[in-house]
Symmetry: C2
Subunit: 264 residues, 2 copies
């Protein structure tokens, strides 16, 4: 079975941010990620796979599990799959999903339950943003907020680097972070920003049950407007010659302090 | 001035690992990195730049600083530079350097000075390896050892991700890690491996003044042979749904505990 020209064009267009937004869809690749998507609350619209994927035990199991679902499963030629996927390692399977949009305000917890939220202020590298979402997912963060000037969540490189994280926790896009941080403080959150010039070393941080933790841009860090809203400016002391830490590494170091909150 | 065909061919060949090894050279790109190289102990063999780099204040300063050095500085056409560099953001400047080789055994400190060494057992992604070297550089690690099956240090993606780290600390390649770990223990080092099934939570670790810390492969972690040589198997507790942490993030979390050693 081959895809119609019009359909193939539509699928190819999903490699562009503009069209992803217009169609409100995105593409994922690989057996593992399609499995995770199928088990998530995301709407799986269409699965495309080559004949070869049935030779892979995981691939066969995946296709079986999709039978009976309200989702088109099509066998396509390897060349067709290549034109709509981003990597060479798509393992013979890709899926089209409906984008979900989470409202940042809905993530604010107003009663006395705990809530740890993480915001990215203008994180621009897709690999970094994806890895940071994966890290949030590991450390049990309750929700992620992408600031207005951060990379797009449904960029295939971001989705891939989350390693399934995009399916595990709510992520709001296009958030006005200064305004959100103000609302969070009013709702009882303590606001932390990571800042090379901060005064609180990361190992001194004890995150309260309601915490908003903000990470900034790879090159220029966090905007002054956001810094001025912070209760604590967190830094990681340097002992060597590097000029900076990678932002996703800094994110891991700071979030690792969450264990003190959870284990107490 | 244009490059001779033979010269251009030789430069282009440096994008292949085999030729980098044979020529014992490597290529770096960008104003900042060439500056760092010029200030380091590496031998700068040749600098290639476009006319435009002189319009950039940093670029002009760099070229001025290279005058009088025993190093060829050549202006080339943008197209020529493109064919020998890896990224589009080379900022109009690249340099050819002589590779350095550090002996792992020389890094072992046998008197009572402190020495923190970090080893990568089969880290295969260039971005991860480079980011881990950058992280080691931040946390004041004294030397890095790349195991036999790790990615090549002089891969352009590794060099770029180190953000200058390759010029700041000694890095030995092609190290037989089980044999090195055995020698390190005999020299009084305590050996730590990071292992998802480890029994020591990272926040319980107090690195002694002589520590060897080993990180493993992205997919399968650390080989059993190395695990069995470890004094401590360090883990990072998970509180969410992610299956794993990115290895460079895990490296940052574990090395962040070094502050207890340095600040005591």
């Amino acid at each position: 079975m081959t895809l119609s020209k019009a359909h193939l064009k539509e699928l190819r267009e999903l490699s562009h941010k503009k069209h992803r937004g217009e169609q409100s869809k995105f593409v994922i690749e690989g057996i593992r990620l399609v499995q995770e998507a199928a088990a998530s609350d995301f709407e799986l619209l269409e699965v495309l796979h080559t004949a070869e994927v049935e030779d892979h035990p995981g691939g066969r199991a995946l296709l079986q599990s999709l039978r009976g679902r309200d989702c088109e499963v099509r066998e396509v030629a390897p060349r067709e799959l290549e034109t709509i996927t981003d990597t060479v390692s798509a393992q013979g399977v890709a899926a089209v999903l409906r984008q979900r949009s989470f409202d940042a305000g809905d993530m604010l917890v107003t009663d006395d339950r705990g809530s740890v939220l993480v915001a990215f202020d203008a994180v621009s590298d897709p690999g970094n943003a994806g890895t940071m979402i994966r890290t949030c997912d590991w450390f049990g963060v309750n929700g992620v907020l992408l600031g207005r000037n951060s990379v797009e969540l449904y960029n295939p490189k971001v989705v891939r680097a989350t390693m399934g994280g995009v399916f595990h926790l709510p992520i709001a896009e296009d958030v006005d972070l200064p305004s959100f941080a103000t609302r969070a403080r009013a709702a009882g959150y303590t606001v932390f920003v990571t800042d090379a010039e901060g005064e609180t070393h990361f190992d001194r941080v004890s995150f309260p049950a309601k915490s908003l933790i903000v990470f900034g841009n790879e090159a220029w860090g966090i905007r002054d407007q956001l810094k001025s809203l912070a209760d604590y400016r967190v830094m990681i002391r340097r002992y060597g010659a590097a000029e900076s830490l990678n932002v996703s590494v800094a994110c891991g170091v700071v979030l690792s302090a969450l264990h003190k909150l959870y284990d107490e």
